[in-house]
Structure formats: C-alpha cells, structure tokens
Amino acid sequence: MTKDKTFTLITEAVREILPELADRDLSESDTLDALGANSMDRAEIVMTVLEEMDLDIPLVETHGPQNLGELAQHLSDTAAAKAR
C-alpha cells in the first residue's frame, strides 16, 4: 500500500476516533498528541488502520513515528517488507 493511501486511511481513522476533528484538514506534519489524542485514542487509531491494511504487527512497533506522515511512511514500508 502506498504512503498516500496509508495516510488517507490514517486521516479517516483519526476522524472516526476523534470526531471533533471531522471538519479539520489534517496534514502529514500533524502529531496525534497535538490533535488531542490520548494513549487509548492513539492505540485505537493505529489498530483501526492496521485492520484496514490487514497488517498484523504489534502496536509497540508503531511507536517510533513522530507525526502522521512518518506513521504513514512507516506502516507503508512495514507492509511492503512483510509482503516480500
């Protein structure tokens, strides 16, 4: 899955888990922290995206990326590596 497609999945999940952001534009530089996500919200968002990607990895492996763009890149790269 491309990084752009993964980023779209992330923004959809963010808007589902944080409904107050429904009308806000999200950019790759946004961080989940700054968007108001607590640790449970973050886990919910990432798990929602992982299910959409059918990417079965431990949540702890998604803790490195600092913003939405880095998270999209990381998940996209991880999915590509697993597919090889």
């Binding site: 589902e16 888990i17 944080l18 409904p19 107050e20 108001g36 449970m40 919200d41 886990a43 919910e44 798990m47 929602t48 992982l50 299910e51 059918d54 079965d56 949540l59």
Partner: protein
C-alpha cells in the same frame, strides 16, 4: 430502632422503555402502559424471538465530548442520561466533589456489546480494538460517570444479580450514614443482555418462553396464574441519597430511607427462600422502627417467575402485610434485572409523592386473593410507609423501607 441518620432521597432519574425521564415514566405507570414486543436490538436474536421492552437510545449528554461518547456503551449512555436527571434535580453541580460518591448496581452489564465486538473480530482477533480492554469492565461505567460529573469521593459497582439496584441504594445509604461522603448517588444500571444471556435465562426456566411473540402485550404477568417467567425490560434509575437538611439549597426530599435489610440464604441457586424473604422484610421494618401494620404499600419483586411470585406472596402473608396495597411495576417496565431494585424504589417514591398507586398489567387471575392487589386502574393512596423488595439469584434478599418525610 429508627435509623438515626435521617437519610432522604433528593433526586431521581429514570429511563425505561415506557418512559424516559420521571414525568413520562410516572404517566406511563399510572396509565399501565407497556412497550413489550419481539426484541430487535442487534445481538439479541440468534434465531430467537424473545419478547422484551427496549428503550430508545437517549440523546447524548452535553457533559462529555463526541470522543468520549463514541465508545460509551448503551448501558453507559443510559447511565449518563439517568444520572443527569437525578443530579440536576438534586442541584449537585458545584457541590464539593470530594464529598460525593457513586454506587453502580449490577455486574456483567454490557454483554450484548461485548458479543457484538467479539463477533466483529472473530475472524481477525488480533485487530480487536484496544478500547475493549476498558469496556469489558463494569467499572468503566464508573469511569464514564465520574468523568462526566466530576465525582471524586468514591465510585464502585456492587453485584447482587436482580437485587443489584436495591443493593446500590442500600450501599449509598450506608456510605452517607457512615460519613464517608455527604451525598451518594445510587444507580441501577441497564443490564444489556445478549442472546446468550437470554437463552441461558430461558433454559433455566426463569424467563418467559418465545411463545408470546404473537401476543407480546400479554407476556408479562406477575402474580397471575398464567405467568411463565419474567419478561426482560431495559431500564435504569438513579437516586440521590443524602442527610436531611445537610445542604441548604437541596430540593424537598421525596421521602426518607427509613430502614433496610440484606439477608442471604446461603444458596448458590436461583430458587427463592421464604425464610430469606421474611427475614429481609422483618429486618427492614425493625431497622425503621416500624411494624407490618405501619406499611401502606409494598412494591414487590414480582417478576412473574412461577416459584418466585408464590414465595413472595407467602412472605407477605407470613409478615402480616396482606392489608397493604401491592402492585407489580415489572408488569409495566419488564424486568430490568440489575436496574430493577433502583427503578422500583424510584417508582415507589414517585407514587408516594403523587399519592397514587399504579395498576398491575395482566393480573386477571391472581395466584392468591390475600394481598390487596392494585389491578386494573390506578388508585388514590395516602402512603406514609412503604416497602420495596428485591431478590437475586444466589440467595440474595433485600428490603427497603421508604417513609413520608412527615411520617
């Protein structure tokens, strides 16, 4: 001896299928309304056609944001709405949060939504949402309610099967009487059954069979010869308990909590016990400093269980309560299980305030003529002292005595 604490109820919230909010609920009680139908909520079928009373999902509270409400279960949403009504009536906004407690009656309260979540992820369990780790706990409801209302004194659940709601009222009363908090809210939580619980309760013979699906209005018949078990009804009620006169701006109380009693049968099974029920009734009367003659009205457990109703009537007779008026709130609401004791305490308080008793639906051929049944229509009644009774599987018997403030 009369309990020295002088405890009163200053706020009520009620959410049932027949009425959401105490005004609509009171009207429905006196009209003998019902909402029994073949149940349609997802997670309650699995090929069955059980009759029950399902309530409309309430409007979300403004005390929580969309993010918090997204993961609130039906039980949680109904608890918030019901607590809001009681809280607002009692005027608790701004009161010292450290001196307010919350007791939630019930256990295994969100079974239907857990089953739905399990079904959604059965084929891909590793993607189960992390929030499941919170929401499978009944105490998540404490977290939800204390977040919304800022309660800081204490909050926990109490489990007593179908006596849970009344047990919550009793524990709230004990918490105020002991000085642990100044104000304690008792909430009988909605027991959100899945088809598995329905099937289990039917298999054990406690719940009415599916053969009422074509005549749902007639399915629920407490104390009637034609009864065949309880009919489930979604419900929730909240009662605000505090010391009379402790807050200058508290509203006029509904009544005094004049006595209560909890008695166990030492019996793991679901069967009722005449000894346990009479001991609970006598214990509450003794606690209140009253005798059976002082009781004007009994709100019984009255589930329409074949053995339960028979035993309860025997207990009323053994305790000398056949002069007191008796109606069965569950004939109107259905059996709220964990909520029932709180819903029925609320029903008793609302009737006491109105000076009227609601009819009992479907009581066409009573199992015993000795009790003073309120049958087809509401009646006027000057209630000074009344009893509300609850029993739960596992040999739990509770009785609560409510008294007019000037009695």
């Amino acid at each position: 001896m009369r309990h020295p604490a002088g405890l009163v109820v200053t706020g009520l919230g009620v959410t049932t299928a027949v009425g959401q909010g105490k005004t609509a609920f009171t009207d429905a009680l006196f009209a003998g309304a019902h909402r029994f139908a073949v149940m349609e909520r997802p997670g309650r079928q699995l090929g069955t056609r059980f009759v029950g009373a399902e309530l409309p999902v309430p409007k979300p509270t403004s005390r929580l944001g969309a993010r918090e409400l997204r993961t609130a279960s039906l039980t949680g949403q109904v608890a918030l709405t019901t607590l809001e009504e009681a809280w607002t009536e009692a005027g608790l906004d701004g009161y010292d949060a450290d001196r307010v407690g919350l007791v939630i009656g019930g256990s295994n309260l969100q079974q239907r939504e857990l089953v739905l979540a399990q079904d959604r992820h059965r084929a891909k369990p590793r993607f189960l949402r992390p929030s499941y780790g919170l929401s499978y706990l009944d105490s998540d409801l404490c977290g939800l309610c204390t977040t919304a209302f800022g309660i800081r004194g204490f909050a926990h659940t109490v489990g007593g099967a179908s006596a849970s709601g009344q047990l919550a009222v009793i524990e709230a009363a004990e918490a105020v009487a002991s000085g642990r908090v100044d104000v304690c809210v008792a909430l009988g939580a909605l027991a959100d059954l899945s088809h598995w619980e329905l099937l289990g309760l039917r298999a054990m013979g406690a719940m009415a069979a599916e053969d009422h699906a074509d005549a749902p209005a007639e399915a629920c018949r407490p104390f009637d010869q034609g009864r065949s078990g309880f009919v489930y009804g979604e419900a929730c009620a909240a009662l605000v308990v505090e010391r009379a006169g402790a807050r200058p701006d508290a509203p006029a109380p509904y009544a005094r909590l004049s006595g209560w009693s909890v008695r166990l049968d030492g019996n793991r099974d679901p069967n009722p016990s005449l000894d346990g029920e009479t001991a609970a009734i006598r214990g509450a009367l003794d606690h209140a400093g009253l005798t059976a003659r002082d009781i004007d009205y009994v709100n019984p457990h009255g589930t329409a269980s074949p053995a339960g109703d028979t035993t309860e009537v025997a207990a009323l007779k053994a305790c000398g309560l056949t002069h007191a008026a008796v109606n069965a709130t569950k004939s109107i609401t259905g059996h709220g299980l964990t909520a029932a004791g709180a819903v029925e305490a609320a029903a008793a308080l609302l009737q006491l305030r109105q000076g009227r008793l609601h009819p009992t639906r479907n009581l066409t051929d009573p199992i015993d003529d000795a009790p003073h049944w309120v049958r087809d229509a509401a009646v006027e009644a000057d209630i000074q002292h009344c009893l509300s009774l609850s029993m739960g599987f596992g040999g739990i018997n509770t009785a609560l005595c409510l008294s007019a403030c000037d009695a």
